[in-house]
């Protein structure tokens, strides 16, 4: 019998694309669908997905949970859990349209929630940790229920299929946001499970990733010490948890995180000025188990920004372009030119060199 995602580890090659408006302009979801569709051949129809930031301005202070259910029983059980721990302000099915290439869809629901004050206080943890733990709990313990998006004013949309079909299925042209990322998947096995498509997300962190990391189990077994549970056995999942752990829990900057997961070689560190050298030696030593080896290019989306990073040998293609207040990132240049033919600047970032773009003051005022 073919094993499902999470029961076996499935390596995959992929396409990624993403863009952000630093001014916080509202960008229609149509563009990201168009961009990723130009890299059709980098996917094989076994997974596609998107993340949009700033798409729920009317509920921007509430956590938006997107959930896949295998059955109504799973939904009822999950809703009982949500009612017990959260104030559910709004719930509905996520609007989709019938698409000839998207089949066997699960029940797809959306909830706008906020933790119950009493429950949050009793838990003695902060709000984000409470939400993260709740999501991990639902995904681990409720059979047939999977929360695949859980941040504020953002959302993940994913399915089994080619990404452009997935975008049409979810009617992304009806959403507007300041930042979008996309993923087309080429797994080397047939999972056929929607939860296994990407982006992978926790809270407002989303990851789209192209590559197959050779450090997977070293990373997984380390991060699982900190109450994460890698159920899907995918690279993207573990990378998301690494970002959550280092950024949210250890409070490290994204630049510092880049120097941990795609660390400079010791030979380079030894040549650096002493304060920088000391810091990098410290970070590589302390978080040595979070070094990621093997090919990867990733786009991390988060509240107010986007980060692109290649593995330190640059074993995967990734280009970045700028046009006015826009920054574009994609596996291939064609995916950028498709939506912005006339860029101001385009380049290939070096391996291990992060590209971090955040909303400017104007954008922050508008979107955060």
């Amino acid at each position: 019998m073919l094993l499902k995602e999470g029961q076996t580890r499935i390596p995959s090659g992929c396409a990624i694309s993403g863009f952000i408006s630093r001014d916080g302009k509202s960008l229609n979801g149509h563009d990201i669908v168009k961009s990723i569709s130009y890299m059709h051949d980098r996917s094989n129809g076994l997974g596609g997905g998107f993340a949009g930031y700033g798409i729920y301005p009317e509920y921007k202070d509430l956590y938006a949970f997107h959930v896949f259910y295998d059955s109504n029983t799973a939904r009822e059980e999950t809703e009982r859990f949500l009612d017990k721990h959260f104030d559910v302000v709004n719930l509905s099915r996520i609007p989709t349209r019938k698409h000839p290439n998207i089949k066997n869809e699960p029940l797809i629901w959306r909830y706008f929630v906020t933790p119950l004050k009493t429950k949050l206080e009793a838990s003695q943890i902060d709000e984000k940790e409470f939400v993260a733990k709740s999501v991990i709990k639902i995904n681990n313990t409720i059979d047939g229920s999977y929360v695949f998006s859980s941040g504020k004013n953002m959302g993940v949309f994913k399915a089994v299929g080619y990404p452009e079909d997935v975008g049409e299925f979810y009617r992304l042209e009806e959403y507007e946001g300041y930042c979008w990322t996309a993923h087309g998947r080429y797994p080397t096995n047939t999972p056929g499970w929607w939860g296994g498509a990407h982006p992978f997300s926790l809270l407002d962190y989303t990851i789209v990733h192209n590559g197959e990391i050779s450090s997977y189990d070293a990373n997984r077994r380390f991060i699982e010490m900190f109450e994460y549970k890698c159920n899907l056995l995918t690279d993207t999942e573990v990378i998301t948890y690494i970002f959550d752990y280092l950024n949210r829990k250890q409070k490290l900057s994204l630049e510092d995180i880049a120097s941990i997961i795609a660390a400079p070689f010791w030979s380079e560190i030894d040549k650096m000025p002493s304060d920088k050298k000391e810091k990098l030696r410290y970070l590589r030593n302390v978080f040595s188990s979070l070094l990621i080896t093997g090919p990867f290019s990733i786009i991390l989306g988060y509240d107010g920004g986007i980060m692109a990073l290649n593995d330190r040998l640059k074993l995967r293609s990734m280009v970045v372009a700028e046009k006015d207040d826009m920054t574009y990132i994609a596996s291939e240049e064609c995916a950028i030119r498709a939506i912005c033919p006339d860029v101001d600047k385009i380049w290939s970032p070096r391996g291990g060199e992060p590209v971090i773009v955040t909303l400017n003051e104007k954008g922050k005022a508008k979107c955060l």
């Binding site: 050779s214 070689f265 093997g294």
Partner: protein, 501 residues
């Protein structure tokens, strides 16, 4: 002449057509096997005392010698083997405990040989260490649980003391006394050139070797031999020896005959007295006592030295390691039942303890389950025989390995397992000056450097094959391993899948 109830184990076979009667074998054999018979003008041998150390074979200029297993047999019996019968005869004669040396040679499973390593194909590229950077640097020591920031927002990079190694291979503890000064010098110089560490064992540190302090781990064992302020401050780390894989649960005994002038000075005991290490540390009867010794040593060295606690792999090793990880220790060293020794009671060596592969797997998993794996580094010993064993150990979860037997082999040891006799023909496990001088440290250290460099290169090749370009990404990466011919229980303890899964 009294009756010998047992026969020789080996036959010395000499080709008379090749032998030129140079008598080199006679001069080289400390066991006095070879002798010249003037009546027949020929070389002869008394095989009974031959230990098959291969010294005579190696030095014979005409290749006239070979040592073979004797074909003299007792009546065959699957229950009472010739070896068991011989041991009964020996004990009936001596009334004593049987002694043996080096690691457990019995036919127990070797799990390293039932584990296979992965390689990249298609979906990610393998990496050629000759063309791309390939890193094997390792830091041993506690890592902070939480990053601290300075008032200006920068990271506070203060960290408890660490041992920095260029490669994940160190030399195991072997005391001066159990091995010769020349053997120690070879290890010390090799460790220095390689950028790794050797370990003094429990015999103190000879005054000539303080210069190699940065690459030395100084040991504190139950006999407390040779320990004083300068000694503790000399090394890169201090190791508390709680146990040894070859003889868990018992102490050590270096006979007075090996305590000559230099050894006596180094160990700080009178010449000719037996050096007895008690079975337990008599100030450590429980884990809270261990914590006190850990912190006593830290206090004594101004918190500048990482503390290693070395234990033998025994049945509840995971729980013990968990206790040690919370004791303030920086590094745990685990020694498996195949680990070597200069002398151990045979019954203990052959029957006590567990394989290092299983001990390592369960310790690493236990520390992770408790969320404290980053509190300590884990070093494993007890028969790491090749670079492949190193890779498998690291992938199971070790930070680094100790090699002892392999290092002695590099110096010429042929595993005749007679160290306890003190008559090592290779100049390693002896204090007899005429034998010690046979080991030239100038050559010895180069051979050790060659060995470890070769292994490190092989580690890089295997890592590159897996698409890994730094050793920390291999550590605990059990997905890179598969078992072959192992049952479900063994696989579950090792935390690996079976080949084909």
């Amino acid at each position: 002449m009294p009756i010998n109830y047992f026969s020789q184990e080996f036959d010395v076979v000499r080709d008379p057509n090749r032998c030129i009667k140079c008598r080199a074998c006679e001069r080289q054999c400390a066991n006095e096997v070879h002798f010249y018979d003037p009546e027949t003008d020929s070389m002869r041998a008394d095989s009974l005392t031959c230990v098959d150390c291969q010294r005579c074979v190696s030095i014979c200029p005409t290749r006239a010698l070979k040592i073979v297993k004797t074909d003299n047999t007792f009546r065959e019996n699957h229950n009472w083997s010739q070896q068991i019968m011989t041991e009964v005869y020996r004990q009936a004669e001596s009334g004593g405990v049987l002694l043996s040396s080096m690691g457990n040679p019995k036919d127990y499973p070797v799990y390293w040989d039932k584990i296979l390593i992965n390689a990249s194909q298609v979906t990610n590229p393998s990496i050629d260490p000759l063309r791309e950077p390939m890193e094997t640097k390792v830091f041993l020591g506690q890592k902070p649980e939480e990053i601290k920031f300075n008032v200006d927002g920068s990271i506070n990079t203060k960290i408890t003391p660490q041992v920095e190694l260029n490669m994940p291979i160190m030399f195991s503890a072997m005391s001066y006394g159990s091995i010769s000064k020349n053997a120690h010098e070879s290890l010390a110089r090799a460790a220095t050139e390689l950028g790794t560490c050797y370990n003094t064992g429990e015999g103190g540190l000879h005054k000539d070797f303080y210069q190699y302090g940065a690459n030395t781990i100084v040991q504190v064992a139950s006999g407390r031999f040779g320990i004083f302020k300068d000694y503790l401050e000399a090394g890169a780390a201090i190791e508390i020896k709680m146990g040894q894989g070859a003889k868990p649960g018992i102490g050590g005994h270096l006979p007075g005959i090996k305590i000559r002038e230099d050894v006596s000075k180094t160990r700080m005991i009178p010449m000719g007295t037996d050096a007895i290490s008690p079975a337990p540390h008599h100030d450590i009867y429980s884990i809270e006592d261990l914590r006190q010794l850990v912190f006593s040593l830290k206090e004594a060295t101004n918190y500048e030295k990482p503390i290693i606690v070395k234990i033998a792999a025994v049945h509840n090793v995971a729980a013990i390691a968990s206790g040690i990880a919370r004791s303030g220790a920086d590094i745990i060293a685990i020694d498996g039942y195949r680990g070597g020794t200069g002398a151990a009671p045979t019954r203990i060596r052959d029957n006590v303890g567990i394989p290092i592969e299983l001990a390592l797997a369960s310790v690493d998993q236990r520390l992770r389950d408790e969320g404290i794996r980053n509190n300590v580094s884990v070093v494993v010993a007890g028969s790491i025989r090749s670079a492949a064993d190193c890779v498998k150990a690291i992938a199971l979860g070790a930070d680094a390995v100790y090699i002892g037997t392999a290092a002695l082999l590099a110096l010429g040891c042929h595993l005749c397992r007679s160290c306890h006799s003190g008559k090592c023909n290779w100049g390693i496990a002896t204090q007899r000056p005429d034998l010690v001088k046979r080991l030239n440290p100038e050559i010895g250290y180069k051979r050790l450097v060659n060995l470890v460099k070769a292994w490190n290169h092989e580690i890089m090749e295997m890592m590159g094959g897996m698409g890994i370009n730094s050793v920390e990404a291999l550590r605990g990466n059990r997905l890179m391993l598969r078992g072959i011919g192992l049952n479900e229980k063994e696989l579950s303890i090792l935390g690996i899948s079976h080949a084909g899964e």
